[in-house]
Symmetry: C2
Subunit: 140 residues, 2 copies
DNA sequence: TATTGTTATACTCTATAACTATA
DNA sequence: TATAGTTATAGAGTATAACAATA
């Protein structure tokens, strides 16, 4: 058991907090470049992978299903997403990215340089060590 | 230059994304335990360190100063913060944590077990390696 | 004139509860 | 009855623009 006042642990936690802050900033900036909010960008990224029932989107975003209605509404109004019927269950609506939605999702991903830039300073060996430490930290 | 499709880099990025998500969840949960929103908790934590002009709070949160008015209003309504005049500049209002605000900030910090738990799996040696890698990643 | 904080406004996200159409 | 999605509502965070007090 490591006390929170342990200087080393405290510094690691501070560094993680910095990573978290920078990650969020970059994500919001990348989304804003495409006139998307963070939530809209997250949903569009999900839909670009595969069409999803509204409820599944809510589970991924850890929010109430009622919120997804508005987010998909706004994506749909911009021609980035559409609702399709589910052939197996007429209660379900499958939200899916349109062609333009897919293109936007790709460009959004390219904007997310958080991946490339900070990791570029690390060698393959170091990235491997970092991966293993993060895995263990996350209880993987 | 590391391509984003490099499997190792991709996995590290995914792990970081997981850390970010978990950090946020824990932070929101800890704040909610004290009936605070994330933004209110952030501001209260800042004010518990030292009184700050409204504008400085906005800079720390990277948002517009006008938003801070409402957040401090809500903290003030709950007796956790107060506005004081700045003796040096009568335009400035210094937001400060009240005694109860300080107590709440301390308990909030204790709730943030994100520090202890995941790091507990790592030895001192490993924490040191993690610290150095994060430092270099962040360009320190 | 410039700066600090506030107000007014509009938009988005969020949770809760009630509603509809299906199952 | 139960489930999927929606609507209605209210609260909070956000940016923008205009404002009063002070520098």
């Amino acid at each position: 058991m490591v006390p929170r006042t342990d200087p080393l642990s405290r510094e690691v936690v501070d560094l993680i907090a910095t990573v978290v802050a920078r990650y969020h900033e970059e994500y919001e900036d990348a989304a804003a470049k495409h006139a998307l909010t963070g939530a809209q960008a997250k949903v569009l990224t999900l839909l670009a992978r595969e069409p999803l029932p509204m409820r599944r989107i809510a589970q991924q975003l850890r929010c109430e299903p009622s919120n997804i209605t508005g987010i998909v509404d706004r994506l749909e109004a911009r021609g980035l997403a559409e609702r399709r019927p589910d052939p197996d269950d007429r209660r379900v609506k499958l939200a899916a990215a349109t062609e333009e939605g897919h293109r936007t999702a790709v460009r959004l991903g390219e904007s997310l340089d958080f991946a490339r830039e900070p990791l570029a300073s690390l060698s393959t060996r170091e990235r491997t060590v970092l991966r293993d430490l993060l895995r263990r930290m996350l209880g993987g």
